[in-house]
Amino acid sequence: MNCKTVQSHLSAYLDRELSGEEMLDIRAHLSECFVCCEEETELRSLKRLLGRLPAIEPSGDLEQRLLAVVGAARTGERKPGRQAPFVLFAGVTACAMAITLAFLSKSHTTPAEATMQSQDIAFEAQRIHDYTGGGDAYGAPIVSAASYAGR
């Protein structure tokens, strides 16, 4: 084995992730090559350093918050069928449109302002839909730490 091959295998050698034959070949090379031996020592120190990194403790209430979020996912799962949120969404959207039309016809709101209001209402409707039963691509409900904290 030449230095280049040995050095490319040094991490796997340190981790004992090579075949017995490869391990022996590298060990033999290291016993006679100062440069590769230095490299091996350095990588070994780095591995030890990473292994000694302290565990980072979460804040005391994380467990309760996680259990609450999982509990919320569970409650969402029990809702009968997948149609209900869509019906609710359709209803909320229809109401939003009706309110927007009423505003447009009865007030002096400019079209731009009206569009903004309509978008706000539609956004709220989407948010309610997401919260009540919608989910991301994985089917998980969209409940972020920020939205949780807000409750």
Binding site: E17, L49, R52, I56, P58, L67, Y138, A140, S144
Partner: protein
């Protein structure tokens, strides 16, 4: 008579199915809650190392646990739950970084300065000098980790911090052992270069101690 017997059997089957469902769901919920209690601390620690700050770490653990709960019926009990959770977490983290479209190389909170993070009790066997060096190097290590691609960072953390074998890392990262071997090797070398550039004296002193 035959018909009646059959009806009774079917009725019994129906009731046995319906009555078993409720406890099964409750058991599943209780089992999952226990798994959350057992694994969340370790998962948080890994999430912090992956994301570099406590709020993203909490989000990552939370998102991963919700996904894990959704797909709990697919969980193969022959694997440790933590490995399965880490798989979800590793993928969620890589997705998160890609979605964001940038790597966090600055603004490393935590590492002791963060009020919500505390550290393990010191090892009584270790020399005071080494402990001091180790804590001095913790922040540069985290900064160096954040400068890596999420794939390299995840592979190095799973192997070196979590102490997993390459095959386990490959299983978690849904890739080959050869790819894991390369990611770990290149990741360690990147980490070393970063530390030699940004905290050379502390790093050198600690390497001599170790």
């Amino acid at each position: 008579m035959m018909r009646t017997t059959l009806q009774i059997q079917v009725t019994e089957m129906f009731f046995s199915v319906t009555t078993e469902r409720v406890p099964a769901r409750l058991n599943r919920a209780a089992l999952f809650d226990d798994l959350v209690k057992q694994t969340h601390r370790q998962a948080y620690s890994l999430a912090f190392r992956l994301t570099g700050n406590s709020s993203e770490a909490e989000d990552l653990v939370q998102e991963s646990l919700v996904r894990a709960y959704r797909f709990f019926h697919r969980y193969d009990e022959s694997l440790p739950f933590s490995s399965w959770l880490y798989r979800i977490m590793a993928n969620a983290h890589i997705d998160m970084v890609r979605r964001r479209g940038r790597l966090r190389t600055t603004s490393i909170e935590g590492s002791g300065a963060d009020g919500s993070s505390t550290w393990d009790l010191p090892d009584p066997e270790a020399s005071p000098d080494r402990l001091m060096l180790e804590s001095a190097l913790d922040e540069p290590v985290q900064t160096a980790l954040m400068a890596m691609t999420p794939e390299f960072r995840t592979a190095v953390l799973l192997a070196d911090v979590e102490g997993m074998a390459y095959e386990e890392v490959a299983e978690i990262m849904k890739t080959s052992v050869g790819t894991v071997r390369s990611r770990i090797h290149r990741g360690r070398k990147q980490l070393r270069s970063h530390l030699l550039k940004n905290a050379p004296e502390t790093y050198r002193s600690l390497c001599d101690e170790l």
